[in-house]
């Protein structure tokens, strides 16, 4: 099985250490979430995995091959959707297919399929500026999936959304993850979001960024097995994990 592996990765900006010796292993079918306070290097690590930032030490590999540049095997979704406003929603989704020279009919068919998957059927002809924040983020996800990546790298994809939209998008993300068989590496600030989505949570601490704890969690698998999200969140085990995770994030800070 393909793994996305960061091995003892250090990242420096202008000589200042931002991340020191962090190792993360994402298998396909994993949903790994990075959490931590600001400045803990979450986004830096994601950018290393994306091939946008080069580590000063350590290695980043996918399926054993070193990551040297961005590639469609690791599609990135950013907090600000980074959609192309001169294209319709459908054309945005079909972007990766167009880059590969797919024929228009095939592009449309596949794009509509993906729009249906993110529950945006019928919005294909809409312009980006006609869509709400949540809809835009769905287009961004569909666009990333169109590249048929092995891994999705999500940089606070729900960060700019309002609380209600955010909650609905969490289940959409889980549905996509189970339907598309990709490994996910995601960065978030949301503690509950991490618990709902992750199969593994990596807690980072700042100054410079390092791993303080790793949690294996099972709530997202329970959702995938059919349990309703409300029931999962109401489970006392969920609340307990939430407390534990919060403690881990603020560990070492004066109480």
């Amino acid at each position: 099985m393909t793994h996305l592996v960061l091995d003892k990765v250090s990242v420096h900006y202008d000589g200042q250490p931002a991340v020191e010796r962090v190792s993360i292993d994402v298998a396909k079918h994993d949903f790994v979430v990075l959490v931590g306070r600001s400045g803990c290097g979450k986004t830096s690590l994601l950018n290393v995995a994306a091939g946008l930032v080069e580590p000063v030490r350590g290695s980043a590999t996918i399926g054993g091959r070193p990551i040297t540049a961005p590639g469609s095997d690791r599609a990135v979704v950013f907090q600000n959707d980074a959609l192309f406003p001169w294209l319709t929603a459908r054309e945005n989704v079909a972007f990766a297919l167009r880059l590969r020279g797919a024929l228009p009919a095939e592009r449309t068919r596949r794009a509509d399929e993906l729009l249906r998957l993110v529950k945006l059927d019928g919005a294909g002809d809409k312009h980006i500026w006609e869509l709400s924040g949540g809809m835009r983020q769905r287009v961004g996800l569909a666009r990333a999936l169109a590249a048929e990546p092995q891994f999705l790298l999500l940089d606070e994809p729900l960060g700019a959304l309002d609380a209600l939209t955010r909650e609905r998008m969490q289940t959409t993300l889980l549905d996509l993850w189970t339907a598309s068989h990709v490994g996910v590496l995601m960065v978030t600030h949301g503690i509950e979001e991490a618990l709902v989505l992750a199969t593994r949570i990596v807690v980072l601490a700042p100054g410079p960024g390092r791993v303080v704890r790793t949690f294996e969690t099972g709530f997202s698998r329970r959702y995938a097995a059919g349990e309703p999200i409300r029931a999962i969140k109401a489970d006392p085990a969920f609340a307990a994990s939430r407390g534990e995770l919060t403690d881990a994030i603020f560990e070492g800070e004066a109480a």
Binding site: A82, F84, L99, H127, I128, A144, L153
Partner: protein, 290 residues
């Protein structure tokens, strides 16, 4: 009528009061109606009419000799005459077509050269190093200054005229393209790269469309700059064109044709500006709405 409007007054008053409370409790709910204000458009229209009137009056009172200042009516009559019979062996339409032809040929040339130069400036340090000083050198030179050199190098034919206009257009096109390219969001570029775009595909599919609003602004400025270079470009060995028409008329003190030519040049510049703005709205409807 007056009486009935008076009887309605209490109602109108309550309305005004309700309005005030609204404004206090939710100040953003409704913009206050602007009463007793004049729009800039009205002021502009009045200004134009005032200038025309002053012109007509001073011509009528013969404050200035008609050789120097023909009356608006004389200019209008000349306009009709030149449209119908022409001036210096060409009708007004033929002069306009000749001038527009040169300006658009120059625009095409300026785009073919300027957009890639702007891309180079915006995307690579070496490109910026090469082209920035050249453009900064070229930009402030008035067309009349390099006209003689262009004629020495390229002769007095049509290419020289087009080149003079194109040089004036190059800097606005290239610099607007460059600023558009530099303004492209890094996230957008990164997203495209992570979707598998090569460097060339990023430029073609992300950077160029992102910079398009800025490029179109550059075209608009360039058209203005090129159009205002027209008279200089048609100084030498032209047989047609608005600039040529004005100069020929000036040599024979046919002042009404000179004034008419100036007004036609201004009118066409106005129309061009209008068309390009329409084009901008049609081509980049997303600008300002992202």
């Amino acid at each position: 009528m007056t009486v009935s409007s008076y009887t309605e007054r209490p109602i109108a008053n309550t309305g005004a009061k309700a309005d005030e409370t609204d404004a206090l409790s939710v100040p953003w709910s409704r913009p206050r109606p602007k009463r007793g204000r004049v729009s800039a458009r009205v002021v502009s229209a009045v200004t134009i009419l005032a200038v025309l009137a002053a012109w007509a009056l001073s011509a009528r009172l013969q404050l200035v000799s008609p050789v120097f200042l023909p009356s608006p009516a004389a200019v209008w009559i000349k306009f009709i005459a030149v449209v119908r019979d022409g001036f210096v062996d060409a009708t007004l339409v033929q002069h306009i077509v000749a001038s527009l032809g040169r300006v658009f040929a120059a625009l095409v040339a300026a785009v073919i050269v300027g957009v890639p130069v702007g891309l180079a400036i915006g995307t690579s340090v070496i490109g910026r190093g090469i082209f920035d000083p050249l453009l900064e050198f070229l930009r402030p030179i008035p067309p009349l200054a390099y006209l003689p050199l262009v004629i020495i190098w390229f002769g007095i034919g049509e290419p020289s005229k087009i080149l003079v206009i194109a040089i004036a257009m190059l800097a606005p096109v290239a610099l607007s393209t460059a600023s558009g390219v530099r303004g492209v969001s890094q996230e957008r570029v990164n997203a495209a790269r992570s979707l598998g775009a090569t460097r060339a595909q990023v430029i073609r599919h992300v950077i160029l469309p992102s910079a398009l609003p800025s490029i179109l602004t550059g075209l608009r400025i360039a058209l203005g700059a090129g159009w205002s270079t027209l008279v200089a470009a048609e100084l030498v060995a032209a047989t047609r064109g608005l600039g040529f028409m004005i100069q020929s008329a000036a040599q024979f003190l046919v002042t009404d044709v000179v004034v008419m030519g100036i007004l036609v040049i201004a009118a066409i510049a106005f129309v061009l500006e209008f068309i390009i703005r329409r084009l901008e709205r049609a081509l980049v409807p997303w600008a300002g709405r992202e």
